[in-house]
């Protein structure tokens, strides 16, 4: 099963496309690609809002020093090579001969300017300042060589650079977010030029012929936003658009059979997991846990690792993947999928074992189980409301009588942040490095260190913290990797969170097109090409 979903599946099933003359790609069609995406793009300013749909579009217009390929591996972008030249120094060699859309040459000045802008975008609701923060000083060696001096050893700097889109100093000095949105300064080195932009509605692109990575396959791109799932699928079936992302799992079976449509899919980087209440002490009441008569328990069973393990064993992940997700997910025991840096090879998804779960619960002093409410959003992740109900069924079967409450994300996330829940379902889209989920979700909450900002269950394990701390300054890649894997292994054995599955990212397109599916969920026009006839 995993093997099946493991490899990035590039949609090349267009070989039989010739059978359908009506759908064949005519010359005119090849000129314009009409795409429909499910999540609205809110700004063309690449440093305004750290938001996946914005980042995907920014990657069409701009470039980064370090890019990531479809499987989330780091590859050269505007930098051709990089290395640590000292414990606190990184040197990047820049790509020669790169031009912005307006013809300006790309140089080290532009990189320095960009990093200076990151913390200074007014009103940014979620800025990119974190990536500039470790850098103490920038040294321009020559127009195509730049050095970053960091305050402390910072092995993750190249990873940080995969999030920073480079601007043109001359064009963007003093440019406001509105100037990007109007298209006036939406100028980068990327494969697409912005022709027009209607906020939250559509963006029109034209090909950047002088793109260093080779000109894209289409002359123009019409990038539309259709947030309603059914409407997006309908738009593809009606032929109004050529390509859609976030294909609803409910339509998968039908689309797979439809001769007019091709799918592309890849295991993603987003784990769906359950956060558990570690905030209340072993002898305190957890807010949504009672005994079977509805009376307070007087203790927090979730602080007992046997209970956590039992809850994990009670979940039939394969059933969730097959029945709820229609196969568009992989059962998971950790944050990252195989093949991505930071995956721990010897940690497996917990085996479904309801009898074992009952035994463990009895061992922990709950032979008759207890009552618990599972909270979750019902409009955020794929099938989130369905997953929590399915888990509720499974827990009830081992004696943990589960109530289920699904809320809109706007309401849910605030309550989760205040650690109001006993158990909650949430998702996490990782950067391709194990330190990323460790630092944000499994590390003890610490404002000073910037750790555990998304650790809503308040899990805390000193051993995990110690290994993470060591990894963050370890420049030796091999040693660092071992520290990161060890920390994740310990957290997994301790059942800090209960991983459920990793989502599969799915796109659908008119037959005659092919798409390189990306693990990071980004929907970008440069990944789409006409299929070879």
């Amino acid at each position: 099963m995993r093997k099946l979903l493991l490899a990035a599946t590039v949609a090349v099933s267009a070989l039989s496309g010739a059978e359908l003359p009506g759908q064949a790609l005519s010359g005119a069609q090849a000129q314009t690609l009409t795409m429909a995406v499910g999540a609205p793009v809110t700004s063309l300013d690449p440093h305004y809002h750290q938001l996946s749909p914005n980042n995907a579009v920014a990657d069409m217009i701009f470039d980064k020093l370090v890019n990531t390929d479809a499987q989330a591996r780091r590859v050269p972008g505007l930098a051709t090579e990089w290395r640590a030249t000292g414990p606190t120094t990184w040197e990047f060699k820049l790509r020669p001969g790169v031009k912005f859309h307006n013809g300006n040459p790309f140089t080290a000045e532009d990189v320095a300017f960009t990093l200076g802008r990151l913390p200074n975008v007014p009103n940014a609701p979620s800025s990119f300042a974190v990536y500039a923060r470790p850098i103490q000083r920038i040294e321009i060696v020559d127009p195509l060589t730049i050095r970053f001096h960091t305050t402390a050893p910072h092995p993750l700097l190249p990873l940080d650079m995969t999030n920073v889109r480079i601007l043109d100093k001359e064009t963007h000095e003093g440019a406001a977010t509105e100037d990007f949105n109007s298209g006036k300064t939406a100028i980068g080195t990327g494969p697409w030029r912005v022709v027009s932009h209607r906020n939250g509605e559509r963006i029109e692109f034209a090909r950047h012929d002088a793109y260093w990575g080779g000109a894209p396959a289409f002359q123009r791109v019409n990038y539309r936003m259709i947030t309603n799932d059914a409407a997006r699928t309908a738009a593809l079936l009606a032929g109004d658009v050529d390509f859609i992302d976030q294909v609803p799992t409910t339509d998968l079976a039908k689309l797979r059979q439809d001769q007019r449509v091709t799918l592309s899919e890849v295991v993603g980087l987003r784990l769906i997991f359950l956060g558990l209440d570690h905030l209340r002490g072993p002898n305190e009441n957890s807010p949504f846990i009672t005994d079977n008569d509805g009376k307070p328990l007087g203790r927090n069973p979730l602080r007992d690792v046997r209970v956590r393990r039992a809850l994990s064993m009670a979940i039939d992940r394969q059933a969730i993947v097959e029945r709820v997700m229609e196969g568009a997910a992989t059962p998971a025991g950790q944050f990252l999928p195989p093949g991505v840096p930071g995956h721990v090879p010897d940690v497996q998804p917990t085996r479904y074992d309801p009898e074992g779960a009952k035994r463990l619960l009895a061992e922990a002093g709950y032979p008759n189980g207890f009552r618990m409410q599972l909270n979750g959003p019902n409009d955020r992740y794929i099938n989130d409301g369905r997953i929590i109900q399915a888990i509720g069924q499974m827990w009830t079967r081992v004696g943990v009588r589960a109530a289920v409450e699904g809320q809109t994300w706007a309401v849910f996330v605030g309550r989760a942040a205040r650690s109001e829940f006993s158990a909650h379902l949430i998702g996490w889209g990782s950067n391709p490095d194990g330190s990323h989920p460790l630092r944000n979700i499994l590390a003890t909450v610490s404002a000073e260190k910037g750790w555990g900002a998304s650790n809503r269950g308040r899990y805390s394990n000193p051993e995990v913290d110690r290994l993470l701390e060591a990894s963050l300054t370890e420049l030796d890649e091999e040693k660092r990797e071992k520290l990161v894997l060890d920390a994740q292994r310990i957290a997994a054995e301790d059942v800090g969170v209960i991983p459920i599955h990793i989502q599969t990212n799915i796109w659908a397109m008119r037959r005659g097109l092919m798409h390189e599916a990306r693990a990071d969920e980004a929907t970008r026009a440069q990944d789409v090409r006409p299929a070879p006839q």
């Binding site: 906020n199 079936l237 809109t408 706007a410 605030g414």
Partner: protein
């Protein structure tokens, strides 16, 4: 008359003030916008910065009064999400919603009034019964369901109409309208019908009820007895009488159509204000929510005022002065 208008305007201002307070508290109670907007990557320091950048670090009353101060100067704040003035965002989306709402209202009157008249005049005919059955179905079908059915049938199965979106637009007075192009009209047909369905039924029923009541009234009998042609009786006397409830309801419904086009807009991916507001609620973009509601309230007050004025013209028994 002018005293009456002035009083209504003062009342309007008070209503808007009350609205803004309620919305401020309401949005505050729903959740924390920063939690929604912030990247999961952000650490605590970045969260603190974002809270300050959006002005959410101040106490609620202080945020409210600074909002009020700016509002008096015509500045309703900048969207947290788009970093553009909220009013500008709404103004950009307004034409799409307005033309949809007017299109739906137009359809409702165009279809509903003649059908209602017919059903009222020949209440026992097969046609009337069919019309009334249809109107009951129109009330009974949930909008989102009808929307999807329309897409399934007319876009996916038959391929007659584009499934979603707004299509080609023409720019007039700095705003983009789609009802002036063929492509735009094709895009507008289904959402406008979807939005109109409920109101067609409403107009049919109101018209029919009005006709049936009016036909029994003494003045109609008198007019008939006087030998006026049936056409004149219906066209002038009856018509004028049934217009009162129809005007009231259509007027009131116009406002609610504009406000409630949320569902239709999200099913048909119609880029209007309704879609903006539902997106804004989802991310708790308070400045947009507040600005949107203020605009809607203003519009409602104007519509109500116009309806009241029309009412007094159509039915002299209702005197405006009596309201004070």
């Amino acid at each position: 008359m002018s005293v009456y208008l002035l009083r209504r305007l003062i009342q309007a201002a008070l209503v808007m003030l009350a609205m803004s307070v309620i919305v401020f508290i309401g949005v505050y109670a729903i959740g924390d916008p920063v939690e929604i907007l912030i990247s999961p990557d952000a650490d605590q320091a970045e969260r603190v910065r974002a809270i300050a950048a959006l002005g959410l670090d101040k106490p609620l009353w202080e945020q409210y009064f600074s909002f009020l101060g700016n509002a008096l100067r015509g500045d309703l704040g900048r969207s947290f999400v788009f970093n553009e003035p909220a009013l500008q965002l709404i103004a950009q989306r307004a034409p799409a919603t307005l033309e949809l709402a007017f299109g739906a209202t137009f359809l409702a009157v165009l279809v509903g009034l003649p059908l209602g008249l017919y059903a009222g005049l020949r209440p026992n005919g097969v046609g009337a019964k069919t019309i009334m059955a249809g109107s009951i179905l129109g009330f009974s079908l949930p909008t989102f369901w009808v929307g999807l059915m329309l897409i399934m049938v007319f876009a996916v199965q038959l391929g007659w109409l584009p499934s979603t979106g707004r299509g080609e637009t023409v720019e007039i007075l700095g705003m983009r309208w789609s009802f002036l192009t063929r492509d735009g009209l094709a895009h507008m047909a289904m959402p406008a019908l979807n939005l109109a369905l409920f109101k067609i039924s409403l107009v049919i029923r109101l018209t029919r009820a009005g006709v049936r009541e009016t036909m029994l009234m003494d003045f109609v009998k008198f007019a008939r007895a006087k030998g006026l042609s049936p056409r004149r009786v219906i066209g002038v006397h009856v018509f004028k009488n049934i217009l009162i409830p129809v005007v009231t309801v259509v007027g009131l419904e116009l406002g609610s159509t504009i406000a409630f086009s949320v569902v239709t807009e999200s099913v048909f991916a119609w880029p209007g204000m309704g879609k903006l507001i539902i997106d804004s609620i989802n991310v708790l973009d308070r400045p947009v929510i507040v600005a949107y509601l203020m605009s809607i309230v203003l519009m409602f007050i104007i519509i109500n005022l116009v309806v009241d004025l029309l009412y007094s013209v159509l039915d002299p028994r209702v005197r405006l002065e009596s309201k004070g």
